[in-house]
Symmetry: C2
Subunit: 204 residues, 2 copies
DNA sequence: CTAAGATGTATACATCGTTCACATCAGGGA
DNA sequence: TCCCTGATGTGAACGATGTATACATCTTAG
C-alpha cells in the first residue's frame, strides 16, 4: 500500500472489479472490455493481467460478486423465511434483483459456470444451499432437494422471461403479484412432492 | 441463381446462416464471428454485410431459426397435448432441446430480444402462443395466460439450471424424471390458479 | 542496504466488426 | 442484340479488442 507513488495503483484488483461492474451496468456486457476496465482504473491496458488471468476470469469475479450480492439481497427480503408467504417474498426479491441488474444477472448465467473459478463455484453453491435451506424450513415434511430445485427453476425462469420482455414488467407491483401467484401455485402442490425423484439434484 | 460463376455465391444468405449455426455448435458463442462465417462460406470478409446489417442481425436470424426448430421439436414430442402427461412430455422435450443445443439455446436468450428483428419477434411470439394454446387445451377451466406463464417459466428455468450444471444432467432419463416431476407438481395445483393475476402476461 | 518478487508500462501481433470504394455479374428495356 | 442499372462480392483500411513479451518501477524481507 503506497499513497505517494503514482506508479503503483494501490488496489488494482478491487479497482478492476469496480470498474468492470460499472461498465456492465452502463453499457451492458458488450461494454465490459479489459481495456475499458484498465482505462477506467487509470492504468495501462495490460496491468489487469497481473490480477486476472484473462477476460473470462474478470467476468467470473464479477459474477461471483453478483452471486454474493444476490444472496444478501434475498436475505434482506427476509432473513429466515419459514412460511410460504415469506418464501414468496424472497422469490419476488430474486426477480427484482434480476430486473434491477439485468447485465449483471445475465453475466452470472450467460455461460456455463467456469469450474476453474473456485470463487464463482463457491458463490453459486452458496446460493443453491441457501435456497435449499429456506425451502426445507418452510416445508419440513417434503423432499427439500426436489422442491427447492423446482421452486428455484420457477423463479429463475420468471426472472429470465421478465428480462426478455416476455412478461409485463411495467411496475414492481405487477411483477411481484405475478411471482407471488406462481410461487403460491407451486406451494399448493408441495405436499404432493414427498418422495419424488429424490437425488435428482446434484450436490452443487 | 448461377452455377457457372464463382464470383457470385448463389445463396449467400442461407450459407451464412448455416455456417453461423455450425460455428455456434462447434465453438460456442465466441466462435461465431462474422469473419469466420464468411470464411466458412468461402467468401470475402465483408460479403455477409450484403445480407445482414451487422453481427447482431446474423445472431438474431440464427436465434429465430432456433425458435422455429424448438417449435417443431416440441411438436414432435406431442402434436397436440391435452393431458398433463402429454404436456409434461413437451416440457421434457423443451429441456432436452436446450441440452442438445446449448450454444444455440443461449444465443436465443443471451440478450433481450432485439425488437428490430421482426423475424425474431415473430418466432418467439409463436413459441409463446404455442405454449399458451397447449396449456389451455390441457386445463380448459383455468386462467390459461397465468398458468402458461408459470409452466413456461418453470420449464425455462429448469433448462437453464441444467445448462449451468446446477442439476444432474448425466442421463436423459434423469433429466426427464426431474422435469416430469416438477411439471406434475405444478399441475396438481393448477385448479387453484383460476382467476389469479389475470392480465399479468403481456400480449407477446 | 540490497536483492528479489510484485506490480505496472510499452510495444507488438492477430483478430474482429465495420466502412468505403471498386469489381463483377444478371436481367430487363432500347 | 446491346448495354446499363441494380444486386452482389472484393479489397484495403481503420479503430478496438485480447493477449504475449520484454522492460520499468516499487516494496519489502533478509
Amino acid at each position: 500500500m503506497s499513497r505517494s507513488s503514482s506508479y503503483h495503483h494501490g488496489d488494482l484488483r478491487a479497482a478492476c472489479l469496480r470498474a468492470a461492474r460499472e461498465l456492465l451496468e452502463e453499457d451492458g456486457s458488450a461494454g465490459l472490455s479489459l481495456r475499458a476496465v484498465a482505462r477506467r482504473a487509470g492504468v495501462s491496458a495490460t496491468a489487469p493481467y497481473r490480477h486476472y488471468a484473462d477476460r473470462e476470469a474478470l467476468v467470473s469475479a464479477v459474477a461471483a460478486e453478483g452471486y454474493r450480492e444476490l444472496a444478501t439481497y434475498l436475505a434482506r427480503a427476509h432473513p429466515a423465511p419459514s412460511t410460504p408467504d415469506e418464501l414468496a417474498a424472497v422469490a419476488v426479491a430474486y426477480v427484482r434483483f434480476a430486473l434491477e441488474h439485468p447485465a449483471l444477472f445475465r453475466a452470472m448465467f450467460a455461460e456455463p459456470c467456469d469450474p476453474t473459478s473456485e470463487e464463482r463455484v463457491a458463490a453459486t453453491a452458496a446460493i443453491s444451499e441457501y435456497v435449499r435451506t429456506i425451502v426445507a424450513a418452510t416445508f419440513p415434511e417434503v423432499d427439500a432437494d426436489a422442491l427447492s430445485t423446482t421452486v428455484w427453476a420457477l423463479v429463475h425462469g420468471l426472472a429470465f422471461l421478465h428480462l426478455d420482455g416476455k412478461l409485463d414488467s411495467s411496475t414492481p407491483e405487477i411483477v411481484a403479484a405475478q411471482v407471488t401467484s406462481a410461487v403460491h401455485a407451486l406451494f399448493h402442490a408441495a405436499p404432493a412432492m414427498s418422495g419424488t425423484v429424490a437425488g435428482a439434484q446434484r450436490g452443487v
